[in-house]
Symmetry: C2
Subunit: 408 residues, 2 copies
């Protein structure tokens, strides 16, 4: 797979070009533009919604939204909105169990997979038991670990951006929970089934491995569900937010041994699910063409984007998901702001990769708009001046992490 | 207000009549019918949904469902179901803050008010700090306290079914959280604003008073929101599940000082809300006739039911909410099963009032069906034989508490 070059050095001419400044612009101005205060100012603006016709490729949402059957189910449930309808939870659990070939008691549904992720952190980590994750990795569990006072052990990915399971084991003999997202958020890269097995077989006693398969439907990799079936100390997360296009409806699931699921539940009972989420999820599962069709569309659009980036000499990490990390050649914050000014909202930054932005795969039309804007920003045809809108923020003091927000 | 008679003694003839047995029925059969194993068997049946045309007055749901504007908003959001749309959370918080005249930072929304209730228990109670509640009272907080190892102090209500705040203070010098539901679930009775003020002024330092106002729109009592405004150690809960008819959509709110809200949040970040809930809630708030109109309807139907019960000599607790406690004159489980056989599903039992069932106010037509069935059951015209359906249960090992389930 193509890989980025961490040692890429940008000559000052390119830097000026990136920032949209003529060579005559004063150094003082150039410096001001990339300072933290400017970016902080940009982030202080709190938009209530995106501008009209915005290209929203910042949160790994699926532009296709809920499938047709899910939309029909949503319409049908509206008059029943006054009923808790716990039976619908039972029905979705039964359907999911059938699809993944697990027993119903090995399946639990939640209003988004952030819920079981957070509960797992609360259940299995503590000031004595650390939370171990790949770096860069999805941040929600790290934030959760902070709230329970657990040590967060960030282990760099391998050079192929897989989780380095041997290094994770070596770094945390006190591990309570290992978090492996595959395909990984934000790199879109896979960790092999055999490495996940190795991690499980060699982990400290009483620790648990969580495999977040939020994006697995976009790739060809095997699931870790077989390890749940085999009775291992593993929890597999799934969500209806991604391939199923239901991020706003809130439906996720955890697959694990019943005793592990009980431990998650201790921390929050079982809050009633949104019935809208339940019926849309159940209808989506019945549409057997949904996953292969959307996977095909995503792969096709992603291939086109990668081919365009290759042709134009831009570096990125080859992803097997519906997003990828794109080399911004400069602190990514400025690129994000400049793209927003073009009404194209691209994703956030990870501390260990400050010159990369995560780009979600939108529709083919949206990705053409992305390419046009990217070319303008990178060639300096447009400036990176302060914008009035830099994507959605639930609160200036919060970080919005694809479905959950934490204190900034 | 009419009160029940705790010392009511049922002669054996009435008992046979209640159970639908002829005087000739064997004592052995009569005994078997009211034994726990029979009832356990009935409860083991796990229906997937209610029978056709069932009268569902078991979960304090609003039979009117979402209002017309909320239904329109739900229809409109369906195509956007693939977006997290955090801005909608901001907008609902702003609208709610305006309605209750609080600052936005004093308002937070959740997928149902069980969420902040549970988080408050986690934040303010522990093995050293007890959870103090009225008895009978809403059980979700008690179950949550159990999960964190906190002592649960159940203080009997006064003879007028108000919270006995002086007894609550005396019973728990180690209190972490006082829970006051007003109108109280399951009695529908009020605790005065002055008693809530007294509780706050005299509570142990660092403890918090939670006032659950899930049902306040159905009565004329003043809210405790003014105490939030005054900066007291109080958290007020509200929900869109009751008067707004949105139980299945999952939207609740907490009002409190920002520092108290932050403490709740520590335990779960801020999971994205269902956008369906957000738009339906926002639309409902804009319908200024909704609350007065639905309050008027509920009061009218409740008055008719109470008048009928009075005329027919049945005892109940006069409620100021959309439910009331009805004297079953026998262990309530048998009455619930017998009513279910009539396709009328009435509510659950509290341990301190084993001969009462909680009845939700349905539509006028539904309450006529309830009355017809109740007369049949209580006069012995129908039997209390084992039924195949005894309401909705999410899982045989769970207790479904109006929006949240806990291990049984």
């Amino acid at each position: 797979m193509p890989t980025h070059d961490n040692n890429l050095s940008i000559p000052s001419a390119s830097r000026r070009s990136f920032l949209g400044l003529s060579a005559a612009a004063s150094a003082a101005v150039a410096l001001r533009i990339v300072t933290e205060p400017m970016l902080a100012e940009a982030q202080r603006v709190q938009p209530h919604s995106f501008p009209k016709d915005a290209v929203r490729i910042d949160a790994n949402e699926n532009p296709l939204g809920p499938c047709s059957a899910a939309r029909d189910a949503l319409t049908a449930i509206i008059p029943e909105g006054g009923r808790y309808s716990f039976n619908l939870t039972n029905e979705l659990v039964a359907s999911l169990a059938e699809v993944v070939e697990l027993k119903q008691e090995q399946v639990r549904v939640y209003p988004g997979s952030s819920v079981p992720l957070h509960h797992a952190v609360a259940a299995f980590t503590s000031s004595q038991r650390s939370y171990v994750t790949g770096d860069p990795g999805y941040e929600a569990g790290m934030a959760a670990a902070g709230t329970v006072g657990a040590r967060v052990v960030k282990v760099p990915l391998t050079k192929n951006y897989a989780h380095d399971v041997r290094a994770m084991l070596a770094a945390a003999p006190d591990a309570g929970l290992f978090y492996v997202c595959s395909p990984n958020n934000p790199t879109g890269t896979l960790t092999s089934h055999s490495d996940i097995e190795y991690l499980i077989e060699n982990k400290p006693k009483d620790s648990v491995v969580m495999v977040d398969e939020a994006y697995i439907h976009f790739c060809d990799a095997p699931s870790a569900v077989d390890l749940v079936k085999a009775g291992k100390d593993v929890i597999v997360l799934r969500t209806f937010s991604k391939v199923y296009g239901m991020a706003g409806l809130r439906c996720g699931a955890a697959f694990a041994r019943p005793d592990l699921l009980e431990k998650l539940e201790t921390h929050a009972g079982w809050n009633a699910m949104p019935t809208t989420a339940l019926v849309a999820a159940a209808a989506s599962l019945k549409d057997t063409q949904l996953v292969p069709e959307r996977k095909r569309i995503n792969t096709a659009v992603r291939s086109q984007v990668f081919a365009w980036l290759d042709r134009n000499g831009y570096s990125y990490i080859a992803s097997e998901s519906n997003f990828f990390m794109l080399d911004t050649r400069q602190p990514a914050k400025a690129a994000i702001a400049a793209m927003a000014k073009q009404n194209v909202f691209i994703g956030r930054i990870w501390p260990s990769m400050p010159t990369y932005s995560r780009i979600t795969i939108g529709t083919a039309v949206e990705m053409e708009q992305f390419q046009t804007a990217w070319q303008k920003v990178m060639t300096g045809a447009v400036t990176a001046a302060v914008t009035t809108t830099v994507g959605e923020m639930p609160n200036p003091r919060r970080r919005n992490l694809d479905g959950i927000a934490f204190p900034a």
